[in-house]
Symmetry: C2
């Protein structure tokens, strides 16, 4: 397993253990983790802290995102993909896109390289969560 | 002046007085302000708290955004437009789009009604800021 994706999965598991949504994200610059985060909708009652947004917040003002790679256990939604496009993060590596297709085409159309690792572990984690808390999941992706 | 846009302008002015980026945003549901915010890049050293994102964060978990209108003193960038599209906010009213064209077409292509009030006051506020702090502005929109 790619150690950065493993770190993203660890973030997702931490969130699930806290009673939250199991999605984790890692920002890597020059081979080093500069930010990490997980979804905070439940933990902080915060609707905008999707995993990727929490990760970018935790990374802080890093200046240019040139050469940075964002890892996420799940394909980013439009909110997170919008951040990726606006901040010119040119490489995104995701755990899976089967349980949620996200905004893959939108990112690609803006020149973002999107790599889907199609990991069984990530799919299992999301399937278990969505089956257990369908309403919470729909709230998180704006499907209410 | 529309009182909701006035409230967004007041948020933008507050941010400028704090030494921050002068963009403000208001979320209205059923004729009532349910969230307000302004850019927090400088004040909280936070790269993801654009005015619209800060506003959505402050509104909290409002459930469905059906019928909600988001006001912003400036046309939303892809980050903020991504949030609008993902959370199905179907109406956006902006102060101007002359100093920054933003992601207007992206929102419209996803069925968002985008109304540009083209307000001189908003344009003056942004022009003064961009001329005084060009580097900070470029950082905020990912143009480093």
């Amino acid at each position: 397993m790619d150690p950065f994706m493993q770190a993203a999965i660890d973030q997702a598991k931490k969130s699930r253990q806290e009673g939250g949504i199991p999605i984790g994200s890692i920002l890597v610059k020059e081979g080093t983790i500069v930010g990490q985060g997980h979804n905070q909708r439940v933990q902080q009652n915060n609707p905008i802290l999707h995993a990727e947004i929490a990760c970018l917040q935790n990374a802080g003002r890093v200046g240019s995102y040139l050469g940075a790679t964002l890892y996420s256990t799940l394909m980013p939604c439009y909110l997170c993909a919008g951040a990726i496009v606006q901040f010119k993060i040119k490489r995104v590596i995701v755990g899976e896109s089967e349980t949620f297709p996200g905004a893959s085409e939108f990112m690609k159309s803006h020149g973002v390289e999107v790599i889907d690792l199609n990991l069984l572990e990530c799919k299992k984690m999301m399937r278990e969560f969505i089956e257990t808390f369908p309403q919470l999941w729909n709230e998180d992706i704006g499907e209410l």
